[in-house]
Amino acid sequence: MLNSILFSTGSDNFIEGLGSAVSGFLITFVVLILICFILYLFGKAFHKPTAETKAEEVKTEEIPAAPVEQAVTESAATDDAELVAAITAAVACCLGRSTDGFVVRSFRRIGKRRGR
């Protein structure tokens, strides 16, 4: 009886599935860790300015304008999430309430993204 259960198609499937699941989860982690690793390289390659060098640059190259501009472009062109967060934060701060209620208005705007 046990035999017939254990060696049915169902059990075969389960055992094979267990292998697939474990290795699949591993592979998923491997792939995402690889991307993670590459993004760390990105950070090193493209984001050298530390707090000190930045401070220096401010004096010499007037760089600070750039980040501001970039931030504006980002929030405007792509994801309103930052904007929403900022606004929500500001409003919530003022009123000392949960941000729950305020999200409604921004909801519709971001809602578009869910449209898959």
């Binding site: 259960i5 049915s8 198609t9 169902g10 059990s11 499937n13 389960f14 094979e16 599935g17 267990l18 697939s20 699941a21 474990v22 699949g24 989860f25 592979i27 998923t28 982690f29 491997v30 792939v31 995402l32 860790i33 690889l34 991307i35 993670c36 690793f37 590459i38 993004l39 760390y40 990105f42 950070g43 493209f46 984001h47 980040p67 970039q70 931030a71 980002e74 792509t78 994801d79 999430a81 930052e82 929403v84 967060a85 929500t88 934060a89 919530a92 701060c93 000392g96 309430r97 949960s98 941000t99 729950d100 999200v103 971001i110 578009k112 993204r113 869910r114 449209g115 898959r116």
Partner: protein, 421 residues
């Protein structure tokens, strides 16, 4: 002339008789017709969820209408293409003629509109993913690569539901939950509609409708499903953790990101190409800043056209004989399990990361790793702000959130590879 009058009256009678006996109402009372009636009710319930409850209406409204139209008896919206009948003792030239007629669209009339869409279901998820890519900002992920780990951990539910489906299939062989069906069910836990639809299309097309309905319904239920799990698994201190501000991300990085991910992920898992390749293509169109028109079209006109067609086609595939079964119950049950376990997976890895970084990661953002962009990230924000209204986790949660999209596409690729989709 009497004869003509009689003819006319008899014709009239025939016609009215046909009208009654061939109506859809009559069909409810023949054979399994009553099942269609239940399916119509199901479609109406789905419509209510989509419109009244605002559960992912962009997909659920078309799905519901597709389900409704294909289950109205005799409407023929899912009629298959019927080739000209093959004559008896047909020869090769006879068949060649039929082929020529087919190639010139002469049989297209027999094709139901929704069947036409359904036959294209293989390409639609990729096109939607292109549009999604053209709307997604990977900036928060690039700024905080650790997010990817959370995006991986939050795929746990997929594998648990996959094994759960296999276990159910083992316990109740009649369910017919084989490896392919189990994988399609599991992928519901990816919280990502197009990924679920593509995987199911390839592995278990008969279950397309229940799996799509479950996937989109649970995505809409993220604000209901996730918070209790998030609170149960975290301490108040953890929920109060404030995270460092994200570093600025340059446009160059945003442009390189989709290119690098495309090459790397597709080399490792070629089967992810239709998802990752198109997601990253759409994102490149957006981020490269010189193809604004293409990004706009991909994320608006094209994506919504495809959404209408895919939605109705998926809904239309909901036939009573596969939908009104114990399997659908199993799918709904396993789907919610998948969501819950994925949430737990993300939160638990978040806790570990919190420990390892000495309290620099708020575990709540792990829950956003399930995808369901941007709903899950907003849930993380909300649960966090319930403890401390001045703690803004939204941008930090967007990282795992978009990582979850990549994560579930990777899992889909793994399933397609292993199961030969």
């Amino acid at each position: 002339m009497n004869l003509i009058a009689m003819d006319f009256l008899s014709d009239l009678g025939d016609v009215l008789t046909r009208f009654v006996t061939e109506s859809g109402f009559a069909a409810f009372f023949t054979g399994d017709g009553w099942k269609n009636l239940i399916m119509i009710a199901v479609a109406c319930v789905c419509l209510y969820l989509a419109i009244g409850k605002k559960y992912e209406p962009l997909l659920l409204v078309p799905i519901s209408v597709g389900m409704l139209l294909s289950n109205l008896p005799l409407a023929g919206m899912m009629n298959e293409v019927v080739l000209q009948e093959l004559p008896e003792n047909a020869t090769v030239p006879d068949l060649y003629n039929i082929m020529t007629q087919y190639a010139n669209g002469e049989m297209a009339q027999s094709n139901g509109l929704l069947r036409f869409f359904y036959n294209l279901k293989g390409i639609f998820p990729s096109l939607i993913f292109m549009g999604v890519g053209a709307m997604t900002d990977f900036g928060p992920l690039i700024a905080n690569p650790k997010s990817l780990l959370l995006g991986a951990a939050a795929q746990l539910g997929i594998f648990v539901a996959f094994l759960g489906a296999l276990a159910l299939g083992w316990a109740f062989p009649n369910l017919g939950f084989d490896l392919n069906v189990a994988a399609s069910i599991g992928i519901i836990g990816g919280a990502d509609g197009p990924t679920a639809i593509l995987t199911t299309t390839r592995l278990a097309p008969a279950y397309l409708a229940p799996i799509a309905v479950a996937a989109y319904s649970y995505m809409a239920l993220v604000p209901v499903i996730q918070p209790p799990i998030m609170k149960a698994l975290t301490t108040k201190e953890e929920r109060l953790v404030r995270m460092d501000q994200l570093r600025p991300v340059s446009q160059k990085e945003k442009i390189l990101f989709p290119i690098v991910v495309t090459i790397l992920v597709i080399l490792i898992l070629p089967d992810t190409a239709p998802l990752i390749g198109m997601l990253m293509f759409g994102n490149l169109l957006k981020e490269c800043l010189v193809t604004r028109q293409l990004a706009d079209t991909a994320s608006n006109a094209l994506m919504y056209i495809v959404t209408i067609m895919l939605g109705t086609a998926v809904g239309a595939s909901a036939e009573a004989q596969t939908f009104l079964t114990a399997q659908t119950l199993g799918i709904l049950l396993l789907g919610v399990t998948a969501f819950a376990v994925s949430t737990a997976g993300g939160v638990l890895l978040g806790k570990i990361m919190c420990k390892l970084t000495g309290g620099k990661v708020n575990p709540l953002i792990g829950a956003a790793g399930v995808s369901a962009v941007p709903m899950a990230a907003r849930v993380a924000q909300k649960v966090g702000s319930e403890e401390d209204p001045t703690n803004f986790l939204l941008m930090h949660a967007m990282g795992p959130n978009v990582a979850g999209v990549i994560g579930s596409a990777v899992v889909a690729g793994v399933f397609l590879k292993f199961l030969g989709g």
